[in-house]
């Protein structure tokens, strides 16, 4: 059965540190720096290759930041696409072995 889930994993080609509720991420390939806000940090920390994005949105974004699932899904998808474009996040429709 085809799956519609999205799985996320952190790339190995990054340096990252969470300071308080924000996270610095730097690509070791091109030294691009990203600063993730608390919502981005929540998604980042949950990107373990096994947890589907839909569950991350429900458990880590909607529950903790009190936002409706529709809005959270649009924003999260945009966030994931941007980081994936820079090689910071690996995105797959199957679980990603770590």
């Amino acid at each position: 059965m085809p799956t519609t889930e999205t799985y996320l994993a952190k790339s190995n080609d990054i340096a990252a540190r969470t300071l308080g509720d924000e996270t610095i991420v730097m690509s070791t390939l091109d030294s691009t720096i990203f600063m993730l806000n608390p919502t981005g940090t929540a998604i980042w920390q949950a990107a373990d290759g096994n947890t589907p994005l839909s569950r991350i949105i429900e458990d880590k974004v909607c529950a903790e930041f009190d936002v409706p699932v529709e809005q959270a899904s649009v924003d999260a998808r945009q966030f994931v696409d941007e980081l994936a474009e820079h090689g910071i996040l690996i995105v797959s429709d199957h679980p990603i072995p770590q």
Partner: protein, 361 residues
């Protein structure tokens, strides 16, 4: 404000050691004439101890980690340490003379995602470079390593420290870096040995040579901007700090001593006796250092150069007073602008401004 500046500002406000520098050994296979270390490999931390410090740094919020020495690759566990640091997602810089880096090591550094390898090159001429390092063949080996690193896509920065022996080598090394396609930094400062021996300061370049470096576009960029005196000394300057040492930067020696910076040998504690966190947040020495704002500096706060001076509190400490001037930076400010510093005038090293002045429209 750039993201990096924003990060630094937040780290300063929150007291986070965003950057750390660990020397994993002081042993070295070169014997550079200007080196500030004694190269004795006594009492070095074990692999497990170094990994534990690195883990503690990650927990305290450190993001930028410099692994250095001595020659760090002389330790058989250097790659194990680098690998561990990368597993903890540090942004890692490796400072090395690179003579032990061949094609295999360069490929391994690339696979590890090392942010940058910083290598000192003193001249494009072996007879000058090798005479400084006292290791025959060292220039050839370091340059071969740079080419291997470059071929593997590892970012390299060439650091060119100037002294009497290579005072006029800057442009040739800069051109060499450009030809290979790597970063280049020039550093005209010789610092005292960490044990207090100041004799190597005699190797420093002359005032005329320093003036020349600071008026060469290839070294410093826009000469007009770099050398222009800045008259505005506002509250931001006076309430600021000279540098990040002890605020967002920590240095850890091979035996576990914690200092504010590698150039600031004020012992603040040892990680074999206390946790890094305990030292960072509770050491009396760091607390005292963090209280020193520019307005508290007796001579420098009234100096016309204060807004852009590169004053180093560590070098000032080695001169006897961390609140005093670092006189090599007075010389730099003078070389940049042609105007003596407050300390230079006060100490009688330079005459004060004339009572009679002429202004031409």
């Amino acid at each position: 404000m750039s993201l990096l500046e924003e990060m630094n500002q937040k780290a300063t406000q929150q007291g986070i050691p965003l950057s750390a520098h660990i020397d994993i050994t002081w042993k070295c296979n070169e014997r550079c004439v200007h080196c500030y270390l004694d190269h004795e490999g006594k009492n070095e931390m074990s692999t497990a101890e170094i990994k534990d410090v690195i883990r503690q740094l990650a927990e305290t919020g450190t993001f930028f980690l410099s692994i250095s020495g001595g020659e760090p690759l002389l330790r058989r566990d250097c790659f194990e340490i680098l690998e561990y640091a990368r597993q903890l997602r540090f942004n890692v810089k490796l400072k090395t003379n690179a003579v032990m880096i061949g094609a295999k090591e360069a490929a391994r550094l690339r696979r590890l995602g090392i942010e940058q390898v910083q290598i000192s090159i003193y001249s494009d001429r072996p007879e000058i470079h090798d005479a400084i390092t006292k290791l025959p063949g060292s220039l050839r080996r370091s340059l071969e390593a740079i080419r291997h690193l470059k071929a593997n896509g590892v970012k390299v920065s060439i650091s060119n420290v100037l002294m009497k022996q290579n005072a006029r080598s800057g442009m040739a090394v800069r051109n060499l870096a450009k030809e290979i396609g790597v970063e280049f930094h020039i550093d005209p400062t010789i610092t005292p040995m960490l044990n207090g021996d100041r004799s190597i300061l005699n190797l420093g370049i002359s005032k005329e040579e320093l003036d020349e470096v600071f008026h060469t576009e290839e070294f410093i960029g826009d000469v007009g901007e770099f050398c222009a005196p800045v008259a505005t000394v506002d509250e931001d300057v006076l309430e600021g700090y000279s540098c990040s040492a002890g605020h967002t930067l920590a240095y850890i020696s091979p035996s576990g001593d914690v200092f504010p910076c590698v150039q600031f040998p004020m012992p603040c504690g040892n990680v074999r006796e206390k946790s890094f966190r305990d030292i960072w947040y509770r050491s009396e020495q760091l607390t005292e250092l963090r209280a020193v704002q520019v307005k508290h500096l007796p001579t420098c706060s009234g100096c016309g150069h204060v807004a852009y001076c590169t004053r180093c509190p560590g070098l000032a400490y080695m001169e006897g007073n961390m609140r005093g001037p670092s006189t090599s930076d007075c010389a730099k400010s003078e070389a940049r602008t042609g105007i003596p510093s407050a300390w230079q005038v006060k100490s009688g090293a330079r005459p004060g401004p004339s009572l009679v002045q002429i202004r031409v429209a």
